[in-house]
Symmetry: C2
Subunit: 271 residues, 2 copies
Amino acid sequence: MSDVIDVADPADPRLDDFRDLNSIDRRPDLPTGKGLVIAEGVLVVQRMLASRFVPRAMMGTDRRLTELRDDLSSAAAPYYRVTADVMAEVVGFHLNRGVLAAASRPGELTVAEVIDNARTVAVLEGVNDHENLGSIFRNAAGLGVDAVVFGTGCADPLYRRAVRVSMGHALLVPYAWAQSWPADLDLLRDRGFRLLAMTPAATSRTLADAMHDVADDPVAFLVGAEGAGLTERTMRAADVRVRIPMSRGTDSLNVATAAALAFYERVRFVE
Amino acid sequence: MSDVIDVADPADPRLDDFRDLNSIDRRPDLPTGKGLVIAEGVLVVQRMLASRFVPRAMMGTDRRLTELRDDLSSAAAPYYRVTADVMAEVVGFHLNRGVLAAASRPGELTVAEVIDNARTVAVLEGVNDHENLGSIFRNAAGLGVDAVVFGTGCADPLYRRAVRVSMGHALLVPYAWAQSWPADLDLLRDRGFRLLAMTPAATSRTLADAMHDVADDPVAFLVGAEGAGLTERTMRAADVRVRIPMSRGTDSLNVATAAALAFYERVRFVE
């Protein structure tokens, strides 16, 4: 059970993990960044406690402590109990979620590890927007995706905004960074994955038809950045090009929405 | 064809429609608000020009003027040609989209008008987030939804952020505000619409099954706010309760994403 420690002084160094919240989740190689992973709010803190990201400290109000009591029974990190005012002074702005947890970054998983036993994987290239990234993790968790693989140009899924938008699922859905791109797609292909490149191109197969074709195989959905889409090189490395049928006069959907539709269509075949 | 008028002085009153951009799209009943509808960027300005929202002024760089030349051939509003620096000074911040158009608000459409001839309608209750609202319009446009109806508690779809996130589709997909809620659902029912309430409740029908049942009928998807969902009263007014099958351990999807999945499933049956 977490020790509950009352702290009244916002300058108390034990709260340093939460000080100036807008900079502490930056990567450790950046000047102001500690590279901590931050969970905000009861639900996301609960998900962090269930993840491989082990909190080293928590700070929150008494009310949130009550809500988290059961989840903290097997937690080792201290819970610094503070008022909302102290909290605001420490983090640098008013934060109405009322509780934060901070974890150090554990070692990264490998692509081989996260795709092992996976049936459906999302592979992202150039998805550099934290909100889209967070949404993709939320959609992945809700719609049966087993793992996420990052090619080049993707944003950090552990950035605070991404974790928050993902509702904590960025901490739970296993992900790994490709070491060589797009060559690492061969790791997927060697394990029998069919590589489906998402594109608005009218000449590609519809999502429903493509899913039907690969119903018995493990599937990797390759998804590119909003606007730019997948690079031509990555597109060529895929087995099939897949599109979502769109109404006339429209161009494309948001990248996280397009991914959600792909995941949803896939779920029909892997119950 | 729009008159092109060079303006070098940021204080020129002809640019007033774009001054202090963070307040001018507020509703006219607010102290700082003119209630203008603002389109940002070439794509959204093009969509405004194709919509019932007739621009009364445009302001942009020479480069954007070149890109818009064809679209402006039948436009009556003047194009105030400015430098990026003048533009930044007028709007109050750096705006990298390079062109803006401003339209007065035309009269609102009625529910009866927008559902006439519609086969698929989205009905929103309590969707008070501009980004979600914009995303719903983008998804509606891309995935074959004919109109949007607003119940109580929804945000203004003409707010600048909503228009931007919608990629301009908030100006093109017809919408109307219910005059009496949820009583106005009867307008839909009287025209043969089946009313499907979206909910995470495990006892409801799956989206795919529900869509199959109503394939031949006009359909209205009732969607509630993120978190709270539809009110119980609105839920009772629906014909069917519908859920998206979710993975274990997850609770719900973002409201715009859930709507996109519903629209996508519907498209199968209304080609």
